[in-house]
């Protein structure tokens, strides 16, 4: 927690927003997590913060572009610190999420050529679904 926060501090100050306990610890948690986290998972770690604070913080981080918000097919949103864009595999059975290293999707440019109705492509989401080994073995 020493000064891993330069990045966060910069993004917040640029917008006249304050460095608070909640923002710092939530950012740290996302940064060290090996997988995307939902608001509830974060809340479970920090029961002393109200869930509203967690939602507001995550939304803000996503707005500032310091974390990404993912739609992984379930009923809730996931957030991850992802300086390098990548994809995920989600277990249909237990929800386990694994990250895949590099971006495997076609370039936005090649998509622009295929659309009639869009002026600009800004990003994409590529997620895989399947069965993780432990659910698979457990039959």
């Amino acid at each position: 927690m020493i000064n891993l926060n330069g990045e966060l501090k910069g993004a917040l100050e640029k917008n006249g927003q304050k460095i608070t306990k909640a923002r710092t610890v939530i950012f740290e948690l996302l940064k060290k997590s090996q997988k995307p986290l939902s608001a509830q998972e974060i809340q479970k770690k920090f029961t002393d913060f109200d869930r509203v604070t967690i939602y507001r913080t995550l939304e803000q981080f996503s707005r500032l572009g310091i974390v990404s918000k993912l739609a992984l097919g379930g009923d809730r949103a996931y957030f991850e610190y992802a300086p390098v864009h990548h994809h995920h595999i989600v277990c249909k059975n237990c929800g386990t999420i694994e990250e895949l290293s590099e971006c495997l999707a076609p370039k936005n440019m090649s998509i622009s050529k295929k659309t009639k109705k869009f002026a600009k492509i800004s990003h994409h989401s590529l997620e895989f679904f399947g069965t993780c080994t432990s659910c698979h073995n457990r039959h």
Copy 2:
């Protein structure tokens, strides 16, 4: 509506489930739609069906594999009749959805080689986001 329903009829009968008005018209609507529809959009077309019936029907179709359920980043689910797998572009501003013709994602097999934790990959979701021409022009 004459006999476009062979497909639906077969899938329902195989599972001892009944062919009803709601199922028939919702299936027809999805089949002729050029884009994925949400439960609310369907309800708006068929105000005489309860929204619960619409949710149950869509969930059933998705379970039977005759429609696909999509997570397009918003807060609700979308459903489409998609005998041929494809992707979409969604306008970040107005939500307009355009279909892209073919599948552009890497083959599941090539993904299997990249994961340590998964025994099987069953499907994927690839969606693009951007600004549609009409939102772009409207500034």
